[in-house]
Structures are given as structure tokens and as C-alpha cells.
Amino acid sequence: MRSAFVILVLCLPQDEVCDDYTFCRRVTLDLTGRLPQPDEIRAFVKSKDRARKVEELLESPEAALYHADLWMQWLIDHDFEVGDLYRMKVGEFHAWLRTTFDRPTAETVRALVTGEGQAANFSRKHAGGGDPPVKLALLNARLFLGRDIRCAQCHDHPAKDLTQEEFWGFVSFFGRGRGGIKDHLGEIRAEPRYFDGRKPEGEPLASLADFMDGRPAVAERYWKLFMGRKGHPPSLEDARTPKDLVRTIVASPQYRARRGPLKLMNSVQFMHAFAQVFDLEKVHRDMLEKAIKNPQTMYIFKDEQVMRLYFHKWAKEMILPKGQNPDDVQAHGTVRLSLKLMNNAKLHHYFYSDWGLLRRVLAKRSRPADRLDELFLSVIGRPPSREERELFVIKDNQSYEDIFWALVNCAEFLFVS
């Protein structure tokens, strides 16, 4: 009996890979943040060349754009006011972030820690006012050391091996040039300290940048983003640039497995998917027309990046429970999002309007079976199964609306599997 079990286990395919449709959707969403188009899917399924597909996506400008969107989200954190965005010069900052996709991660991290050039916009966002730069320190620790040091702000943290004293020593690195900071005892601290109590040698921030390698934390962040779980293989830390890192993860057997990562779209992916399904360009134009009449919101729309970030913020609020930090929770959708996608009149107007995806599909194909294929491919990246073809009967134009609605609301749309 036992040997039969062993034989059975040995006979199971050890690295069964996912099918072509799943791979195409997974890799397009993970590398560019957007859904694959039906024509791209068909071409890929015909060629089956996975390595080429990956290179094609990595070289597309969309990959760098998605990378910048992700870093923007990590760096500006989840709460911002419009004033923050203008102070950060988000347009220029985003353009700089795009260039870092193919530059050494260590250099980018160094620039962000020390606040060189465009990277200074990061510290500018988080170290405003007269408060100690706690937020900037927390983010630096989280992003580049992979350490969550929040608890030690108020008390020693035995489990994390960090004292309150050490916390404030670390925060002091970011209060340089302003005569130190006030710590938890209200005392001025001008002397930054590493977590182990050592003093930095030379210029503190430059010295801190030497101390913070950044690559292990960035590798873990990407691994978690792609795989939906922690625990990156140490070899990922050798990847020179974010692009190399992404390429390595995507090539791993874990990523290509049939039951690969299952995760809800992140907010950037949701923003793009939403824009594709609802033809966002038109939605924007519609919003812009209204905004021009309202001087209070007008200035949000003046800058393209600011507008995108606002849309991103909206997408995040839809997909994450309110007020949650994406680093802390795995989002699973909210009642608010479900109600909106199922039953929001304005969205449904966009759904079915002349320039919505549905109308485009209907205009492009004429046979009902082709239309059904095109709808499935556009929204969930695969053609309907035989059973689904029987179930999704097309009687009239309303049938297409019903099918489209079901596709946009189904779990398969919202998850990256």
C-alpha cells in the first residue's frame, strides 16, 4: 500500500506548468499591469513561445510604466493629498521611476535613501512640517530593509529585537540638517545610530545607504507581489535591476506551475483592467468635462500623473478595505466594490455605451459564437469551455449584456491565477 503511494507520488508530474491561456493572462498582468488583448492571446497560443512572450512584454514601454506605478504606490504610501502630489512633482518623479526599471536596484535605493536628484521627491512627501520624520524612517525600513519597526515607536519590541531607543536612533538619520529631532522623551537627538547602536561614519545618510543593501527587501517585495506569498529564494537577491528580478521570478518553476500564484489583482492591475473594460479614456473625458465646471476639482485634472494617481487611489479604495495599507492586508474585495460592479448605474452606462468594450466586440465580430469567444478573451483571457457555450445562450442583444456583466463580476476577472 505504502509503496503504491510512493509510486503514485513519483508518477505525478513534478513541475506541471499552467496552460497557455493562464500563462498569457498571468504574465501580461504581472509584467505590464494590464489585461491581454484577444489578438495577443491568439497569437501567443499559436506560437506557444513563452520565453519570447516574456521578453516581448519586458521590453515594452508598458513594463517600465507598470514598474513606475508600483514604485510610486510603495513610495508615496496609501494616503496623500493633492498638495503632496504637487509638492512631489509626481510627473517628473514618475518619469524618473520609469527609467529605474532597467537600472541597478542598489543605485535606485541609494538615491532614494540619500535623496539625490529626482529621488528627493520621496523624502519631500514624507518629511513635511515640523514633525520628526517618523514616516520617512518607517517607509525606508519597510521598503529597503524589509523591517516593520512601527511598534518600537512607543515601546521596546522584544519579538522584533528592537528597542524604542534604537527606533529613535534610526529615525534621527532622516532628521539631519534640521538640528536633529525630538525623540520619545522630548530630547533633541542629533546623533543617528544603526539598530546595533553603532554610529555612522562620515555623512550619515550616505553611510546609511551603504548599510541598507535594499536588494533582499526588494526581492522579497517582488516575490510576494508575483507569488502572493512570502519567502523568496535567496538567489533572487543577485538580480541587478528590477527588470532582471522580474525576469528571474517569471522563469522560476514555481511561477510557471499550473497552480501558480493565486492573488487578487493589485490596485494598479485593477486600475488598468478597469480602464480597459470600461474604456477609461472616455470616462476620463467625461469626468474632465464635469471637473472644468467645478473649480475645486479642476486642478486634479491639470496634471496627467496627478489624475492617474487619483484614479489609482480610487481603484485602491475599491479593492482594499478602507484605510488599509496594501502591505498589511491581502485584499479580497469589499461589499462596496461588489455593489459598484454589479449595480452602479453610471458604470453600467459606460458598460453598454457606444464606446464601451461590449459595443466594440459586437462591432468587430458578427457570429454569436465568435462574439462569445471575444468577450471571454477580452475579460478573463480564455475562450469559453464547452459547458459554458451551452450555458451562455445568446437569444438577443440583452444576452450579451448579461454575459458581459457576469464576466466582469466573476472571481476569474478579479484574481490573477
Binding site: G323, Q324, A345, K346, C410, F415, S417
Partner: protein, 406 residues
Amino acid sequence: MNRRDFVRLALGTGIGALTSKFGIGAQEVGGGRAKACILLWMAGGQSQLDTFDLKPGMTPFKEIETASGARISEGFPRLAREMKRVSLVRTLHSNDPNHATATYLLHTAYRKAADVEHPHAGSLIAAELGEWTDLPECIVIGCDPQAGAGYLSGEKGPVIFDKLEDPERRESAAEDVKPLLSKDRLRKRWELLSALDARFAREHEGRAVEERRRAYERAYKVLTSEKVKAFDLSREDPTRYGGTPFGRTCLMARRLVEAGVRFVEVALGDWDSHAENETAHRRLMGILDPAFAALLADLAERRLLDETLVLCMGEMGRTPQVNAAQGRDHFTRCWSVALAGGGIAGGRVVGETDGMAVKERPVTVQDLFATIYKSFGINPRKEHTTPGGRPLKLVDGGVPVGELLA
């Protein structure tokens, strides 16, 4: 345990006491009478000196006598007649003059911290008292309460709807729940969706898939429930509530509470009068007065007021000094809150100020929230454990204001 289970258990064990207007009493802890709450959120910070705590020479508004003897602004002629039901706290104070963080404080009883997200009080109350309706348990209309599900699970967070707009415009708070489709067509779509989801669930299981399913099932329950009519005001006459969008939202809040929603927050914005304070306050009091008064009278007529706590408050007060733009700025040394119904004794005034600061009986934000939880029979010292394993009390410190409790 959902409401139906509770009813079954209550009937089964013979402890069911179907005495309440709402059908079944919630779990009783310490004898609170409130079963639901309507929060009228005065976003931006109302000027205490022009509304509920007038001082001669410091406000352009006259004081008027009320049914309870408490003197309030002439901007509230209708509310004055309902004041026997209302108590005032005039000495609420904090030290947070920032809108966003103060709003968070006045929704959670906690200062915003980097290390933990605290839940909206309405979500906590609903979680403590258990499921009660097909509708969302905590609904916010017309503002960003800054607080969400916090350390509770995602689907327990407040469901936030946009501000109710002019009746002529199609957009409204109820937008997402107003049936777009016939029941048959929605059911048909739900069947297609269920088929897709069943296939997906066969391939992928786990908590994420499960939680998304729960959110969708709750949404479908909302859309197909008879109770969704609570959002529909077409058969109501909003004139009594002043006929304004805010008045209509208050009327909606009453209907939602009747339908079993635990916590409804309705916002009236624009109190942040850094310029032209008098004009702004005259206009806003004109909106608040009929809506607040009608809400109290309506709840009382329906014998709902005893079980519905009504709160009217904002995140801060406004300065006694008038600035160069004839406005008042942020002020946190003392401001006023109005409370009624739900186990709150009416007609009382707690605390005294001299217009500049507290003279007697200061009340902290924690005291206020301890009072709110107490009115529901919830122990404010009760601890929850965050997903990170940290124990947190509903309210850290604070003593219920005994003078307010009936």
C-alpha cells in the same frame, strides 16, 4: 451567529423576549438600551459659539429658549421644540486641529497611529451586537470617515455611499443599491456568474476566494432583499426634513435604521468656515435644524427613539476669535456635541465653558465613546486582538458620562 440563528436559539431556549420594536433584542451586556445609531456628522467642525454654546458678545447669533431650558442658537427654532429629547455636552475637547486625523479620532476614539488601523465605531458596534439585517450593518453617506474596517475583517467595514445630490440628478447615495434590473434578469445574471465562480472555486480554493465570495453574496443579498426599499424615498415626503439633500439623507437614515441597519452616518459638510463664518453657519443651521428636529420627532413617533442613539457632532470646534476674513479657525479646547435617544437622558447639559476654555466638567473623546458603547450595553473596556496579536480595548481610558445615561 446571525440574526436568524439567534432567534432560533432564543426561541429554543425560551429566553426570547420579543418586546423590542425591532423584533429581537441584541445580546444584553450591562443594560444598554440602544440598538442602532444615527450619526449626523458635522464635517469640517461646527462653531460651538454660534450653535450650542452661545456667549453674549462672542457671536452674532441670538440665544433662544428651548423646551428643556437649555439655551441654543436662534438658528435652531425647530430643534428648540425637541430639546427635551436632546442632551448637550459643551466641554468635549482634544488636541488635534487637523481635519483628517481629528475625524479619525472622532470615529474610533483613537489617535491615528502608524502601527494599527482602528475600526469605525459603527463597524465595531455591529460586530459586537451581531448580524441583524440583509443590508450592510454600517453605512456612511456623504463623507470620508477616515476609518474603515480597521483590524476587523474586510466585509465588516463601513459601506460608503456618495453624497445625496439634487433630486433632479440621477446620481444619489442609493445609486449602487437602486435596482437597475428586474429581479428575474438579476437572478439570471447571478446564475451565469455562479456558474463561472463554481468552475473557478473547483480549481482554486482558499481564504481569498472565500472572502471575495462572501462580499459578493452580501451584495447580492442587499440587491435582492425587500429591505433595499429602505433606500427608496419616492413614497416619502421630505418636506418635513427641510427638503434639502441632507434632509433627504436623514430621512433615508431613519428608514435604514427601521430596516435593521446598526449604524448610519450622514454627513453635512462645509462647516469649515475660515471665511464668512456667520453666513456659512446661518445657511448650514438652516439645513440642519429641520432635518435634525424631524428625525427626532419621526423616530419618537415610531417608538424607535428609545432604541436609536442620535448623535450630532464634528471633529473640532471653531475659534472664539473672528479672523480678518470674518471666519473662525480650528479650535479644540472645547466644542459641543448633541445626543438623543438610545438610552441617553434628554434635556441635560453637561459641562460649562466661558467661551474660551472649559470651566467645569471636561469631557474627553474617550469619555464620549465610552458613553456611546455603554448606551449599547457594550463594555468599553472589552479587548479585541488585532491580526498582529496586539490586544486593544474598544476605548483606551475614558469613563462613561453618567449624567447622560438614562
